[in-house]
Point group: C2
Chain length 150, copies 2
């Protein structure tokens, strides 16, 4: 696998995009979050070419987002399932934020996206800014600043 | 501009990635959030080739994320500045979630990324899940479910 220089960029957003910016990567993570784990499931759900899917699964495993777990059905050869690691599950707020933005700003009448719920209550949850004490901060009151090393 | 079929995908995450998945797009948005607006500023800050930058700025404008505003210095030709629209500013939680993930899961000793603050207090803010009443929901208690049309 060719190493993307962004993977070592000083900016953590760039490092994340080195992994998630590859075509199909985010949608593979979405399918994994919905419980899909087999190569054939990803291929059928996404309609992605096998060679592309294979490359993406390897990259996501190398990035620590997916873990390959061998499994074997009787009389069949050993195959790999791909399951989210803790780091992979931690991508939930990233996908949720993307989904929220697309839902609002690229609205489509046929939109049919997945969404996130509190598994305890079944209630839909969203992502938003909050201060260290856990209180919500309105987006209009948030700005980006540069970190300067002293 | 070639139209990406993902821009019309039923999944809002896919639609968002149709725009943000293009190389450099997220970092151009990052620079715009830090107040950069001129072509030369983006080019110098990012070290991106002019033709690529030009294509990305056009795509981000077509997607409603940036708006081109003409300006002219005395004796100079008219140029465009690129400023975030409301939809563009709404990408803040997406970039913040990416930055948080990269900071934790792709940690680097030379990491020097930008971060988000409450502009009222100057306090750093993060993104996280919350229920409709505004209370925080722990990531471990969140799951993705598919939306089914009735």
């Amino acid at each position: 696998m060719r190493t993307d220089p962004w993977l070592d960029d000083a900016c953590p957003i760039a490092r994340t995009m080195a992994v998630l910016g590859q075509r199909w990567a985010v949608l593979i993570v979405r399918e994994a979050m919905l419980g899909r784990s087999r190569f054939s499931e990803f291929r059928e759900r996404l309609g992605v070419a096998s060679d592309v899917l294979s490359a993406r699964l390897s990259e996501l495993a190398a990035a620590g987002i997916l873990e390959a777990v061998d499994y074997q059905r009787p009389g069949d050869r050993t195959r790999s399932r791909y399951v989210l690691t803790d780091a992979g599950r931690d991508l939930a707020p990233v996908l949720a934020a993307m989904g929220q933005w697309g839902h609002v700003h690229l609205a489509r009448p046929h939109s049919n996206g997945s969404y996130f719920v509190d598994t305890g209550t079944g209630e839909a949850v969203g992502v938003g800014f909050r201060s260290p004490d856990g209180s919500s901060v309105q987006p209009a009151g948030v700005g980006m600043v540069e970190r300067h090393h002293g």
